[in-house]
Symmetry: D2
Subunit: 327 residues, 4 copies
């Protein structure tokens, strides 16, 4: 039987959440080291993706990661806080654009020391809110130039762009799998790829499995994040809460392509216990992994060759519903 995949999580999963209503936070502040301890408590995580700068900034994370049996798979530089609220790579102020690039570069240096697999780019503030607000051509070019510069400055590292249709900006520059691939082609560097967030894909009108396939074909699928939502917003719910079948299809596609990356959580348990929410997410991923072992891939391929929806769904459902929850 195949070995289980590695599981991971964004470290923010274990931090403090705020939004525009609970401005005092859905719980008390959480330091980076505390968040690492919580990630360790989950018991089944091997890696974490850590926000940079740390909180507080100058803390040493390596030992604490080790103590919790964890490794830093990536750093996520925070280019979406107040300073960058009008844009990071696309900020109208060239000094802020420069500051964004330098912050990422600083994170890249640390990622190298930590032995990370990639630096994650999540330019959530890059985009626009209103019709007529932006010169789209200029924004597109600034986005491409900034990421290319980073990739060229750090040719030994990989940069993964996490695309998303919107939020916090009403419309984002890197909004879809195809659009991000187009940008990467323009960059013409070998070390920029995509982090596909299942939920972003889902509410962006993509079929996540199809988006994964497209990125795989371009050889650019650096990482994935999974979670779930009601298909209208990035709700970051526990994996499989709503779209169990499509989550299964997504992992089936990765497995068929023999993709070897980490199965990684990006959940926001605003009102739930973070450790328990992570355990629930891993439990669902394990259920799906077991379902993959019993999925009749030959029969499925045959049904897909006929594009026979009823047969394909039955084959998938049969595997899924026989993958009983572990005790």
């Amino acid at each position: 039987m195949a070995a289980e995949p590695l599981f991971g999580a964004g470290l923010w999963h274990f931090g403090q959440f705020r939004d525009r209503y609970a401005t005092d936070g859905y719980g008390p502040p959480v330091s980076t080291l505390e968040a690492i301890d919580r990630a360790g408590q989950v018991g089944s995580l091997s890696v974490v993706d850590i926000n940079y700068p740390f909180n507080p900034p100058d803390v040493e994370v390596e030992e604490r990661l080790k103590a919790n049996g964890l490794r830093a798979i990536a750093l996520t530089p925070e280019i979406y806080t107040r300073k960058f609220s009008r844009g990071a790579f696309t900020n109208p102020d060239p000094e802020i654009r420069r500051a964004a690039i330098e912050l990422v570069s600083e994170a890249a240096d640390l990622a190298r020391r930590l032995g990370c697999d990639y630096v994650k780019l999540w330019p959530g503030q890059d985009g626009w809110d209103y019709p007529f607000q932006a010169d789209y051509k200029a924004l597109w070019q600034m986005s491409i130039d900034a990421v290319r510069e980073l990739a060229q400055r750090h040719p030994d590292l990989r940069f993964a762009i996490e695309y998303k249709p919107r939020e916090p900006r009403n419309r984002m520059t890197f909004s879809s799998a195809a659009r991000t691939l187009l940008a990467i082609e323009k960059m013409d560097v070998p070390n920029v790829g995509v982090l596909l967030d299942f939920g972003h894909s889902l509410y962006g009108l993509e079929s996540p499995a199809d988006a994964a396939q497209l990125i795989l074909e371009h050889g650019r699928l650096y990482a994935i994040d999974v979670n779930d939502n009601f298909r209208g917003w990035d709700d970051d719910m526990v994996v499989g809460s709503i779209h169990l079948v499509e989550t299964f299809e997504f992992f089936h596609t990765l497995r068929q392509a023999n993709w070897q990356g980490v199965w990684q959580l990006d959940q926001f348990p605003f009102r739930e216990d973070a450790v328990e929410a992570a355990r629930a997410g891993v439990e669902v991923m394990r259920t799906i992994w077991r379902a993959l072992q019993v999925l009749d891939v030959d029969a499925l391929a045959e049904a897909q060759a006929r594009q026979d929806a009823l047969a394909a769904q039955r084959i998938a459902r049969r595997a899924l519903l026989s993958a009983q929850i572990e005790s």
Copy 2:
């Protein structure tokens, strides 16, 4: 062990489908009697909801229903074809409004003879397409008056309004559970209720289980239709293709209320074999019914009292995933 529910289907499930692109239809024309035969072939259906007028109009359906082991649970008068395309109960032309009422009344008379449980009202053309097009107050009043008149003319029959947010009209008058209940209160008659279509509720931003609960509290849940969609349109896919968990929750809510109605399909298998699609829908409903038998309702109620999402989801998922597909 509890007895299985009765299963049913809208007879259109077995008819010819058209849309604005495949104007020649997704298959050849199907007569009412042929459709009844197909419904019989499914093997697990007990009742059908039949479009009225029949096709061709003057055919006798009773014998054919009997031969297929079926009963007419309802008639659905076609108040949404060309004649009524600018509205049935809300048409600007009073003669067309009258014609709509008379067509329903004619169907009601036949429904009485056939021993139907209810007459279904689906005023899909009642609403508006453009801002400024309609006097909303007038449309609302016309809708209420027409249904009240029908209910009063046929006090021994029940009329079930099927609400839907949109399609074919861009916006429909009976658009949600709450809105339809408000209209029913205005009508002040005892024999008008609601047909809750799971898919309409889902893409109308309701939680179907919650919508069912609301209608149940008002004592007006006359019937249900089930299907599935991508939550942006009334795709009328096979039950459980996407929202297996929420479909399970929906039936759990009905069962907790001891609701005794038929579990009825309203699927549009445009490109699939209609009989097979119905069988697939029944198979999923049976899976859910088995899952209901093993669901730990006490533990669930306890989790819900704490509003503990993780525990409640785990209990539900455990039941669902242990309800293996029948061989």
Copy 3:
């Protein structure tokens, strides 16, 4: 020529905004008194709706309002912060439910002293996030009971429920105009009504003008908030940025009903100057008000009697496009 309406704004329009990314805020903290000064700077606002408790809590606002030519039209008790993040009126913990009621009651006492027109209820944390999480019947009853109790304790005051489909909760209890009216009927008290937020209505699949009409028919339209969005989320953009025509229709409906309330802003200018954003919103509302003066209401009524979309749209557009921006 008719006198201009009064303009107002939620005081939060001038405060600090946060979200889950810019957790350090889109700008520095703003005290209640500073926010009042900013509201005054707009120059065209007559009233504000003020969050309660004030920030800092024990400040005196009356004098500062007066100095800025403003009056408190309402207080909005903050029943959606950390303490209430798992629910206010529907919190699983009865002590928190009690605390929510008491906080509103405290705000009501102050609202009385300040001569407010209504107390606004915005139970944004009342609802659910996951399928199976909640007992919908219990939540509904708790919501109704809490508001009824408040209305009965303060029979001389009016309480306006602001409904919204979702956010911060994935699904909210008071989710639509019709649903809120159903709840108000159950409460059976004369002093509970609705605050219709144009944007909430828009992205909740309602036609805002139709929703307004429905609430007006029930005699419960206590207040309105206006803003705009991309119809998929509560973006709280400047009025008329996207849906100029539907905003015009909304105000036309209010005017036809001779509704005399305040035209009130609920915008979130995350990345814009708050005073300028309010001025822009008022400018658009004034444009619409001028357009209403030249709108040919008789011709429009005639077109609507025919449900003639093309004629009605042309009449509306003609009025709108002739209402030139003031210099």
Copy 4:
């Protein structure tokens, strides 16, 4: 003053509409020649895009076009009717795929004789309906291969792919601007481009002006269609009914790029007079064209350089609202 653009329309705008409810059509059948006459009656159209085969098939259109002062800008082969309902270029049956290619090729030959500017490809049935139904890689490859073959067989003609997120298929292969551009790059032929339908872009979560800019940068914007919708479905309403501001921004972007194509209607006036609906669409386009003449493009560019949403919106609104409706 700049010369007005040419206006055009899809000829289907003047045909018979059906959907799955009004299966007898929203009006009587309309022949190709009758539709041409109706297009002529609009009075302001210069070109039409004609469905192929004609109805009836062997009619001569040239003379009738001429008599109505019209020219065929394009042919749209009907690769989305019953025969192709399970796919045209991606049909699981290779014979149907071949038939689709041959039908387009036949249309291409006629387009050459008629002097069309492009052959339009609208593979609306190419995609999938259910999770697990399709092998995405195979579908993508079949789509690319088919269009490349057509382009290579007719190197003197141009082929314009009209992308759309969904409908009639639940998910379409050519779903967005970026995705279609990626496919075109794979094809590696000079004569395949994009037809951007404003409404498709709008409800596909794109900003249409930004999508246009992206396609322009790739030198592939062959044609546009305009209409409007409620941003959740392809409602094909009259231009500017809802999104007047974004329609204005879209045409501003085309003008800044000095794009010289036809301003073309793709409206579906199900319940309106087709000629009047086209006139309304042209009226709005002319309003926008006049607004473009008075738009302060320098001030706008300056505001956009600052990404100043309030200033940019004010400049745009000022131009739009001063472009009074013509008498």
